[in-house]
Amino acid sequence: MPHSIFRRLVSLGSDGDGDANDANEVRTDGGTATATGEGTTRSDQSDRSLLDSEFVRSLPFWLPPALLMGLFVYGAIGWNAVISLTEWSGFGSPDYGDLDFSMYEQMLGDPTFVVAARNTVVLLVVFTVLSLAVGLLLAILVDRDIRYENTLRTIYLLPMSLSFVVTAIFWAWMYNPEIGLINVVLRGVGLDFLANDWISDPSTKLGAVIFALMWQFSGYCMVVYLAGLRAIPNDQFEAARIDGASTLRMYRRVIIPQLRASTMSAAVVLMVFALKAFDFLFVLFGDTPGPSTDILATMMFREAFSSSNWAYGAAIATVLFLLALVVIGPYLYVQYQRGDL
């Protein structure tokens, strides 16, 4: 209904314009009947095809945001890519006349970059898989009509609302080898041999960071999965029960396969976060976390803002952006094929 009203308004407007044109033409050239007729039909047609097209009428709705996004997001990304092709460092201005891929070549020969890229991928994969698994487990448990469901849900989700600065400092205390809760508990239950210097032993450093991030993000996965579980009709649970499926089998065969969409969307959010898990590391270790935990995001900051190698930093940023595209690309493609986009 609003659509047709809009359409009528537009056609009214164009009629009005047509009339005005008529009047003008009549006045200027003295006005023969044919000229007037021709003018009217021409302007009518062009008005109609231009103003009636959905494209023009939708312009006000998508053009301003597209322009703003284009300038401030995609423009900035494009500019960053251009800077990565220069040799810019220090306080000079970039020389755009001499663009080449030397920064990317330097990157491939830089052991720090290789280590950081490896850590980034490890963090991405392990953190995402763990968070999804824990989130799914929590969601299934919370979904089983337990008491205090809302309270528990809030408790699990709460870490997500904390700032990474807070959780980083909090986990630095948890991991303290002398007074940290983790080692104290391990010693308390007689597992002294497991007690470790978690965030300075290079073999556990990255694992400790991943665990802390998982603690923070599994609550988010739980909420996403919970929504997915609630969308599955109760009939299917009952049908599976009647067919004699065990609980484990029911979830494995009937329920979890239907959670693919939830998994997809949660995984994309987690992976993109993992790519830029900068603040957590920066608070714990500063801009130089050491080879066992250095990720591309911290390396990018270090090169750009500590050493003023702007072009090199921009090149690392471009690589990060491409990685993010690799993560998001398949998701968008699947959504597009399903017609959700």
Binding site: S53, E54, L67, Y74, F91, N176, F285, G286, G290, S307
Partner: protein, 461 residues
């Protein structure tokens, strides 16, 4: 209705494609125009630079702008308790001296300038610098000097009277390219070995008799066997503490000339044995660090000395601020300090300075402020509160406590004032970053060979 839709309407996917095209186009445009802008501002920046560069023209522009843009915007990282009090004392003195100058205090908190660096670099690149900002002098200024973004203040600020009062080592730091661009305001000493008197006494160790970094290792062994305390408090969460300990060990073994050649001039390979020896010593020390060195910050490590849980700590003399704040922990009776073994004749200088960026929003106020920072009055107000000593040698020592008075005495008697890597004065930020990476790795693996290689590769030549 349906027919019309097919005739004139575009499908939703076409929209997507079109808007995609539009945004790609915009991206291209933005890239181009951004580039154009960059060049444009550089040109105009160049013109402004020449204007502000000459002393007389900058005077003119001040007169033109009049009192309206007179506010002095001050960017610094002194936001922690004692530091903030020190800055306020300085600003109070400045207001008394120049009541007409309005001050915009714009701190960028973050230890050792981690946040300030980002803020200032962005603003300088955008030709919109603050009136003055805090920065380590020496080679930390290299990029600023090479980028030609700082005014020469040799004539306007560095009067003959000031030059006579500053020690040579500090004046060198103020002129990284041969002309004065910075005014050092305070000096912290880096080559200190602080200790908890009662712990050291119960171990039967006399710190003043330790002759070199190797002998310190023996002393730590004694502490380890004789007491329950940790021999040396340290932090390896971030690399800088290990960097400064290593460079001090290097100084202790090899002296200031070798340090100058190996580090300031970057010939690490010529001093391979010396570099390896000091790395090995640091590795040996690490056996005697607190177990939680990887999970604590330097002040948490330092509090172990206060609590009597650790015997020694190597830190800059900002660590003494914590001892002063601790109740019932008195200089000489509870804690004391000796120069790091082997560095008795040296005063490793960690200093903060203020500079005069070009395109200055308030040239006259900035000149006044920098001149004020170089005066006895400013340094007498600021340093006792900050816990540092004045770079001028003629500041009355009465307001300083007994510890700082003895530091001032050491400074006056010091033969050399070597710069430091960890606090930016000895190496360019690029090299500093590489050295930090080398020690972040050394803190994890304690591998002398790979750390030596990383250090040898850290320098450009």
């Amino acid at each position: 209705m349906n027919d019309e839709h097919n005739d004139s309407g575009l499908s939703r996917r076409t929209y997507l494609r079109l808007s995609g095209l539009a945004s790609v186009g915009m991206a291209g445009l933005a890239g181009c125009s951004g580039g154009g802008d960059g060049e444009g501002t550089t040109e105009s920046g160049g013109e402004e630079t020449t204007d502000a560069g000459g002393e007389e023209t900058s005077g003119e522009s001040t007169e033109q702008s009049g009192g309206s843009r007179n506010a002095l915007e001050l960017v610094h990282w002194w936001t922690a308790g004692g530091e903030q009090d020190a800055l306020n004392a300085l600003l109070e003195g400045f207001r008394e001296e120049y009541p007409d100058v309005e001050i915009t205090n714009n701190p960028a908190p973050g230890g050792a300038g981690s946040a300030l660096d980002t803020v200032v670099k962005n603003r300088v690149l955008n030709q919109n610098p603050p009136s003055t900002f805090q920065i380590w002098p020496g080679k930390a200024l290299t990029q600023y000097v090479e980028g030609n973004v700082l005014n020469d203040i040799g004539d306007s600020v560095w009067s003959q009277e000031m030059r006579d009062a500053y020690r040579q080592g500090v004046q060198d730091l103020a002129q990284p390219a041969g002309n004065y661009v910075a005014v050092p305001l305070n000096i912290h000493r880096l080559n200190n070995l602080f200790y908890n008197t009662s712990v050291v006494e119960s171990a039967g160790v006399d710190p003043s008799s330790i002759s070199d970094p190797g002998a310190l290792l023996e002393a730590m062994k004694t502490v380890d066997s004789e007491t329950d305390a940790v021999p040396m408090a340290h932090q390896v969460q971030a690399p800088w503490s290990s960097v400064q300990l290593w460079e001090t060990i290097f100084l202790g073994y090899n002296g200031a000339d070798a340090y100058q050649s190996a580090i300031v001039e970057g010939n690490v390979a010529d001093h391979e044995d010396a570099v390896r020896q000091s790395l090995q010593t640091l590795k040996d020390y690490h056996e005697y660090f607190n177990d939680d060195a990887g999970s604590v910050s330097w002040d948490q490590a330092n509090s172990k000395v206060v609590n009597g849980n650790a015997a020694f700590i190597h830190q800059g003399d900002w660590a003494a601020g914590q001892y002063k704040a601790a109740s019932g922990f008195e200089y000489e009776s509870d804690w004391n300090m000796v120069p790091f073994p082997g560095t008795e004749s040296m005063y490793s200088v960690v200093t903060d300075s203020f500079v005069f960026p070009k395109n200055n929003p308030s040239p006259e106020a900035t000149r006044k402020f920098l001149s004020y920072c170089g005066t006895v009055d400013a340094q007498e107000r600021f340093n006792p509160v900050k816990g540092s000593i004045p770079p001028r040698t003629d500041v009355p020592t009465d307001p300083f406590g007994p510890f700082l008075q003895s530091q001032i005495e050491d400074f006056k008697n010091s033969e050399t004032q070597p710069p430091t890597i960890a606090h930016g004065t000895a190496v360019t930020p690029d090299v500093h970053g590489n050295v930090d990476e080398a020690f972040a790795s050394f803190n994890e693996q304690w591998n002398v060979d790979s750390a030596y290689q990383a250090l040898a590769n850290a320098f450009p030549n």
